[in-house]
């Protein structure tokens, strides 16, 4: 089994370098995903709704720091979701036995 610390290092490293690609290069190149191109071809537009952490940004925080903080918030939310799932599946397993 891979040590938990090794997983953590991989996740933290990915989050720390992510603004370089998600913000700096995005601004530099001005790109869009193939899906954005396809949606534009159809003349459709994404609904413009308010969302507190939309596009991995945190209101009032520098975009780079906001992107990094969003990464940690997201990983925390992933861990919490799987923790809840673990409790539910353990309960179902015990009930079955």
């Amino acid at each position: 089994m891979m040590k938990p610390s090794r997983w953590l290092i991989i996740v933290v490293a990915l989050i720390l370098v992510s603004p370089l690609f998600g913000i700096y290069l995005a601004d530099l190149v001005g790109y869009s995903e193939p899906l954005d191109i396809a949606i534009e071809m159809l003349g459709l537009e994404e609904w413009r709704d308010e969302w507190p952490l939309k596009d991995y940004s945190i209101p009032g925080l520098d975009p780079y720091l906001g992107y990094i903080a969003s990464g940690f918030i997201g990983v925390g939310a992933v861990a919490l979701t799987i923790f809840i799932l673990d409790k539910a599946l353990t309960y179902v397993g015990k009930k079955r036995n």
Binding site: M2, W7, Y31, D86
Partner: protein, 201 residues
């Protein structure tokens, strides 16, 4: 590849959610029989890595970009049902916390990235696993090509007057899948060398 709100027709939204509910029921029934603390740790670790890796968008000259999807990698390292669970968790967090992928499109996004990408990657790796690099590369490539093409089909079914977006999605993802294949293959070869017991196939 995350479809936003306002793009899919109501028929596609309802049908994709119905399929997602069916697959999720099957997945949770299957994994509840084998669920353990080690599988919990492995699933959350893979899901966290995929979430963080998806935040890295690579710009491609010509005005487009790609990010790692991770469906094939999840399927190969966790098996199809736990792989589906890891990918669904990532998509849920992206949609609910960051609105990356619409709530109305969650069914479609989950079918593309948590079902088709995971299962196709898992099956192809199983067939070709004699060579880890070739199996990892082809399963990564196919998973993204199929997921992107299905995403194009969902757009086309929602807007049947134009087939051009379907062609755009299929062609772009056939090309972008090469990067997914290379990352998946490199990750699998590394894990196979350092901790082969982590590979589920």
């Amino acid at each position: 590849m995350h479809i936003p709100d306002g793009v899919l027709s109501i028929n596609v939204v309802v049908s994709t959610y119905a399929v997602l509910v069916g697959v999720a029921y099957a997945a949770f029934s299957k994994i509840s029989r084998v669920w353990s603390s080690s599988l919990t740790g492995k699933t959350s670790s893979i899901a966290a890595v995929v979430f963080a890796a998806q935040m890295i968008n690579w710009p491609i000259p010509g005005g487009t970009s790609l990010h790692f999807v991770g469906g094939a990698l999840s399927g190969i390292m966790l098996g199809p049902w736990a792989g589906f669970t890891a990918m669904l968790t990532v998509l849920l967090v992206q949609a609910l916390v960051f609105h990356d992928g619409g709530l109305t499109a969650l069914g479609a996004n989950a079918i593309n990235m948590a079902v088709v990408a995971v299962f196709s990657g898992y099956v192809l790796y199983k067939v070709l696993k004699r060579s880890a690099w070739i199996a990892g590369f082809t399963s990564g490539w196919l998973s993204v090509f199929l997921a992107g093409t299905l995403c194009g089909i969902e757009l086309w079914l929602s807007n049947p007057l134009s087939i051009a977006p379907l062609i755009v999605m299929a062609l772009w993802h056939a090309a972008l899948g090469v990067v997914e294949g290379a990352i998946t293959a490199s990750a699998i070869v590394y894990v196979k060398r350092k901790a082969p017991q982590l590979i589920e196939v």
